[in-house]
């Protein structure tokens, strides 16, 4: 009885293959937070990030036969999320090359250096942290999201990104150094409910 209320991933997949929409809804609800953490971490909390989030689940649904269960469903979805997010970042970069807007960027930069952290609400602080992540190059950002936010190990991160472990460590080291520089004023001056 409890199985029908909380079916395993394997059961859900079987039901989805039989076009059970309810099962697909359950799967989306189960993995929404994991996918959201990856996509919103990579792309920021923007409307187009949700489009990518939707695209991930739709792609998975359409190519469900390709999922052979070699990795966990969460890891598989995270891999799709990372790939689509990297594509989106490339698309944005191409677009930004054509239409270069720097106003908003400069304003955030000033905010980072102002030291007025005590006045910032936690929501704003979250946005600032996201902005710091956004300053990283996409390949570094992917490592940060997987290692720090999704809490994947170095080995798992290497597997998901299909890069050597040494590269993961190197990128992680450089990324965390940059983030430390950007966020140190807030770490020391602002109380966060960790």
């Amino acid at each position: 009885m409890s199985e029908s209320h909380n079916p395993s991933d394997k059961e859900l997949l079987e039901r989805i293959r039989n076009k059970d929409e309810g099962a697909f809804r359950l799967l989306i609800e189960r993995y929404e937070s994991q996918v959201a953490a990856t996509v919103l971490g990579m792309l920021g909390n923007r409307a187009d990030a949700e489009d990518i989030g939707q695209e991930i689940f739709i792609r998975f649904y359409k190519s469900i036969e390709q999922f052979r269960g070699e990795s966990s469903l969460g890891t598989y979805l995270t891999r799709i999320a990372i790939n689509l997010s990297l594509n989106e970042l490339k698309r944005r970069e191409r677009k930004n090359r054509r239409f270069l807007f720097i106003g908003d960027h400069e304003e955030k930069e000033q905010l980072f250096q102002s030291g007025e952290t005590d006045e910032l609400e936690q929501k704003e602080l979250r946005e600032l942290i996201q902005e710091a992540i956004n300053k990283l190059k996409p390949e570094f950002k992917a490592v940060v999201i997987l290692r720090m936010i999704q809490d994947y190990s170095t080995n798992e991160t290497a597997e998901i990104l299909n890069i050597p472990i040494g590269t993961v460590l190197s990128r992680y080291s450089r990324a965390i150094d940059k983030l430390k520089i950007l966020l140190t004023p807030y770490i020391k001056n602002h109380e966060i409910n960790l």
């Binding site: 929409e21 697909f24 809804r25 989306i28 609800e29 929404e32 937070s33 959201a36 953490a37 919103l40 971490g41 909390n45 949700e50 989030g53 939707q54 689940f57 739709i58 649904y61 602080l125 979250r126 942290i129 996201q130 992540i133 940060v144 290692r147 720090m148 936010i149 809490d151 190990s153 170095t154 460590l169 190197s170 992680y172 080291s173 450089r174 965390i176 983030l179 430390k180 966020l183 140190t184 807030y186 770490i187 966060i192 409910n193 960790l194």
Partner: protein, 152 residues
């Protein structure tokens, strides 16, 4: 970039993935260099801060929106299939009609009146009776004669 041994240990510590031996070594390195310990603490705080800032959901009713979009795409796939099938059937019908027209044209050519050799081919194809200005006048004259005879 080649990482130093100390840095590798710190990164492993951040991952909470140190062996007992590595943990002891890092501890002794911290004792020897408070700066290294401070660096570790800064990185640990940064890591915790990043983890704290994560977004863990999209806007409410995300699943509904995904399913709605999926249904839309499925409908669109259906529409595409219908369109392709319509076009395919049109081609088949067009080919059949063209074949029939050609057969009919051929039939008309072969069954045309061979006595009127000066009739254009196109008229034969569409089965027009042999017609010329002289023939037309003759036909009209015959018609008038026929009418007069009947009247008288």
């Amino acid at each position: 970039m080649k990482l130093t041994y100390e840095r590798e240990l710190i990164l492993k510590a951040l991952e909470d993935n140190l062996s007992a031996e590595e943990s002891r070594r890092l501890q002794s390195l911290f004792e020897a260099s408070p700066k290294l310990k401070e660096e570790y603490n800064d990185l640990l705080n940064t890591q915790q801060m990043i983890a704290w800032a994560k977004y863990d959901s999209f806007k409410p009713y995300f699943a509904d929106r995904v399913l709605k979009r999926l249904r839309g795409e499925t409908d669109s796939i259906f529409s595409d299939d219908f369109y392709i099938s319509l076009v395919h059937n049109f081609y088949r019908l067009a080919f059949t009609v063209l074949l029939l027209v050609m057969l009919l044209g051929s039939y008309n050519i072969f069954s045309a009146d061979n006595t009127s050799n000066d009739q254009p081919v196109i008229e034969s194809v569409i089965a027009l009776p042999p017609m010329s200005v002289i023939n037309t006048n003759t036909t009209i004259l015959n018609y008038k004669v026929f009418n007069n005879e009947n009247t008288n």
